[in-house]
Symmetry: C2
Subunit: 123 residues, 2 copies
């Protein structure tokens, strides 16, 4: 039984932000914030998150057109970065811009607002 | 509810092997083998696996000594590559040596024999 717990959540900026461009926030839930000790010294991080917008049917697709381009032959999801896959875990290497208590401001995260965060590893 | 399904399993070599050194096998379960189509064209792969030797107590540790060295101050698990973490997902970039039907022979995988494989992404 492989059950995941959300350790945090991705947040997009509202309207006016001090950090524009390609940045997002990761809010680590209070009960996991002790796990952040020292993370401010990491220039880059791997973020593992749950692609929560996918349906159970999306998890059953094993072959898809690369980038949804129907002129290209279908390939296996393990040979593609498609979000369709049996276990919809997103993986992005980001640059850590700033840590503010239990909030990380990161650049380059390929996630949606409200995506549950599963793990953070130095990278 | 974030529930993972094993798509395969890591296998160490038995005794005499044609592929010695730092290689291991990944056996993809039959029902997911369609997802491998085209994977043979990937030189490197990211392997996500479940660190199945960890206990539920290990998942509760949020700060540990780096590399178990007690002379070093404890740091948060999100700032370390320690296997102790709330969601024990291992992440390794490997070189694909060979695909033989639903078996991948890979170099550099930092997993144990029988670790469940969760996802494979081109890398």
């Amino acid at each position: 039984m492989m059950q995941l717990y959300p350790v945090g959540v991705v947040k997009q900026w509202n309207e006016k932000a001090d950090y524009p461009g390609n940045t997002m926030q990761i809010h680590i839930h209070d009960e996991f914030s002790a796990g952040l000790k020292g993370v401010e010294n990491c220039e880059h991080l791997w973020i593992l998150f749950w692609m929560h917008k996918l349906s159970e049917e999306d998890r059953e697709k094993l072959q898809v057109h690369p980038r949804g381009d129907v002129t290209k032959e279908k390939r296996g999801v393990f040979a593609l970065r498609s979000p369709m896959r049996p276990n919809p875990i997103g993986l992005t290497r980001v640059r850590l811009i700033k840590r503010d208590r239990n909030i990380l401001i990161v650049e380059g995260l390929d996630a949606f607002d409200e995506s549950p965060v599963i793990d953070i590893k130095p990278g």
